[in-house]
């Protein structure tokens, strides 16, 4: 009943990522970095293989349940962390993003899901995959920006904050926000096909909108007063809290019972 071999795949990825991080931390030799990078790639490949296998065995895209979205999230987060590390050499960013990716795999290990092929007719649409995948990708990018924020807040407290830290956050927020916009608009176009209207202020829609607005505020205020770092760092952190409510917190709010977005019975 449990996801096919999930523990085996997840443990393999966790081991590969842990080894990569350990090598990265312990050694400054270039050869080791190559091996470490290879190990990050191996972990990613293992998880990608698992997703493909799961997709085939379920006969539906594995993006319906929260556990399945956590799976994609951890892959995207690891991928984004890896790309940013390769591009800008932020070692700490790779550590944080692999750490978070691993955490989400552990959450899934602790909460194995039932093996469930059902996919309600409203979800059977060509919009399903792009809508969810684009969203999860945006979430992963924005999680990256919140990692930058946490680091910044910490450094600020110690009095050694570098303004250049926020430049990395800006890049992540800009790309993440563009994907967030795609997800929101894909959702609107799909809702028209499935439910007859593009926007119904369903609780999930409302919180997705609030998430979009939160990052919109960050972008505007960052543009208006580039020097107010402390406020920007906190705005970034707070925005991510709103994002988490939209992602799964909304299921626990009093409005959830009226939502068409609660797919898990």
């Amino acid at each position: 009943m449990i996801w096919i071999n999930f523990p085996a795949y997840a443990l393999a990825a966790l081991v590969a990522w842990s080894l990569a991080l350990a090598m990265n931390r312990l050694s400054r030799v270039r050869g080791n970095t190559l091996i470490a990078n290879g190990l990050v790639g191996v972990g990613l490949a293992v998880m990608a293989t698992f997703v493909v296998t799961l997709w085939l065995s379920l006969d539906r895209p594995p993006i319906r349940t929260l556990g399945e979205t956590r799976l994609w999230y951890s892959i995207f987060l690891a991928g984004i962390g890896f790309v940013i590390y390769l591009r800008w050499r932020h070692k700490w960013f790779l550590e944080y993003s692999l750490g978070m990716a691993g955490l989400f795999l552990l959450v899934n290990l602790a909460h194995p899901e039932t093996y469930d092929k059902t996919l309600m007719p409203a979800l059977q649409s060509p919009w399903f995959v792009p809508h969810v995948v684009v969203y999860i990708f945006a979430y992963a990018l924005l999680a990256g920006s919140s990692l930058v924020a946490i680091k910044g807040i910490w450094e600020n407290r110690l009095g050694r904050f570098q303004p250049s830290t926020l430049a990395l956050a800006d890049n992540l927020v800009y790309v993440g926000f563009a994907f967030l916009t795609f997800g929101l608009l894909f959702g609107a176009l799909w809702a028209k096909e499935a439910w007859g209207h593009y926007w119904t202020w369903d609780p999930k829609e409302t919180w997705a909108f609030l998430t979009w607005i939160a990052y919109l505020l960050y972008i505007h205020h960052r543009h208006h007063k580039p020097a107010e770092h402390r406020l920007h760092l906190w705005l970034l952190g707070l925005s991510f809290v709103v994002l988490l409510v939209a992602w799964f917190g909304v299921n626990y709010l009093p409005t959830a019972q009226y939502s068409v977005h609660t797919y898990t019975n």
Partner: protein, 428 residues
């Protein structure tokens, strides 16, 4: 923030003043709701909504053209006004996200419009605030036009078009439901829950078809009759290829009948109207106990048939979930045409300006439902809303292309905080 340096309402207006305006609009809006009697904002239908939006856009545009450098216009196009109007509008959206809409509510809350915020005054007024700042700043970036502002214009104007058309168009939006039944001939009326409308088209249900997933079997607490954590591990599919290990029981489905009849304690294959699914299950407990027997799903015509495992637990088959359902229909239009087609979930059919959606069916009958519930939607403003949405798509692509659009290097940003603080004079 600003008021440390300048007293309130001294020009140029900044955050404090902008937020006071936003809060004021929310207060005024709720007062108007409380005062009742006044028509609600969302009730302007065609052509009054078009006129209203044209007048609003013209007021903003004329103000921009004539008074471009006056303090209030500079304020409207400033980031503080933008942020405050977004926050005010978002505050209303947040209320909607926390307060169940359309739910029963005690009188003071209902009188404030808390149960239907989208058509309330505070929602409308904060939206106008947002639309005024959005349009003014779009005009500022459009005249004189520069190519590098294209992404900005697409993002901001697209949002303006989508929100405006969506808001004023909601009064012209019609969503009606029509119930059609096999063998009962064409239906040419539909209702919105309050009123029945005669339609320019008639729909006859030729056949309602449904495909179902293999149903799930759940653990039931015999004492309370409740299912054990149905969303979690105490649930398995009645698929003969699977085995399940739950609460010390090893479970196997030996035989599965999608439609069945019952004779005493056994079930047999039959495909009569109203027959429900059943499965023969073998359950072995780790301590050696063993139970084998039938578990049957219920529906409108058949009672559930649980299988008792021990004094605490029984197995219960849940009604099967729909995989796909569709209505084969003939649609007759007022102009005398006939369209034979199939309406599916996610695949609406368009006729006479109406989109026909597959909404529901008689779920107590499940696969034997002879009725189909269709939704008929007419939204004349849709093309305008979509124009706005596509502009935002283009704007988002532009954002991706440029990455971080702000051309402020960290050093530069730190070097001139004084200049940045003069929000209104900032030429971005």
């Amino acid at each position: 923030m600003e008021h440390k340096e300048a007293p309130m309402w001294e020009r140029p207006w900044s955050f404090a003043e902008s937020f006071v305006v936003g809060a004021g609009l929310v207060l005024v809006g709720f007062s108007l709701e409380w005062a009742n009697g006044l028509a609600r904002m969302a009730e302007l239908s065609w052509p009054a909504n078009l006129q209203a939006i044209l007048i609003f856009a013209m007021l903003v545009a004329v103000n921009f053209a004539v008074f471009r450098h006056r303090p209030w216009t500079l304020w409207l196009m400033s980031v503080p006004a933008a942020i405050a109007s977004i926050v005010a509008f978002t505050f209303m959206a947040l209320l909607m996200g926390l307060v169940p809409q359309g739910a029963a509510m005690s009188e003071p809350w209902r009188r404030l419009g808390m149960d239907s915020l989208t058509s309330s005054w505070p929602f409308g007024l904060t939206m106008l605030y947002l639309l005024a700042t959005l349009l003014t700043v779009t005009l500022k970036r459009s005249f004189p036009f520069r190519w590098r502002n294209l992404g900005f214009i697409l993002n901001h104007l697209g949002l303006w078009v989508a929100i405006t058309a969506g808001a004023v168009g909601s009064a012209d939006l019609q969503r009606l439901s029509m119930v059609v039944e096999e063998g009962k001939g064409p239906v040419w009326y539909a209702d919105d829950g309050k009123q029945i409308f005669e339609m320019p088209l008639a729909i006859e249900l030729l056949d309602f078809e449904i495909e179902e997933y293999v149903p799930k079997i759940a653990f039931m607490d015999v004492a309370t009759g409740e299912l054990l954590e149905p969303q979690n591990q105490h649930l398995f599919s009645a698929d003969t290829a699977l085995r399940a290990e739950i609460l010390g029981w090893s479970l196997r489905v030996l035989e599965f009948l999608p439609t069945s009849g019952r004779m005493g304690e056994t079930f047999f294959n039959i495909n009569d109207f109203g027959s429900a699914a059943a499965a023969r299950v073998l359950a072995r407990h780790a301590d050696g106990r063993q139970v084998e027997g039938w578990v049957g799903a219920g529906n409108a015509l058949n009672p559930y048939h649980p299988l008792r495992l021990d004094e605490r637990h029984a197995l219960l088959m849940l009604p099967p979930e729909a995989k796909e359902f569709r209505s084969k229909v003939s649609i007759f239009t007022a102009s005398g045409e006939r369209l034979d087609t199939t309406v599916r979930v996610n695949q609406p059919v368009v006729a006479e300006g109406w989109s026909v959606y597959q909404l529901s069916y008689d779920e107590t009958y499940g696969r034997w439902s002879a009725i189909s519930v269709l939704e008929l939607v007419r939204d004349p403003w849709l093309p305008v809303v979509y124009t706005g949405i596509y502009m935002m798509f283009a704007g988002a692509l532009y954002m991706l292309w440029l990455g971080k659009g702000m051309k402020i290097s960290p050093a530069e940003g730190d070097a001139k905080p004084e200049q940045a603080r003069q929000g209104q004079s900032e030429q971005a």
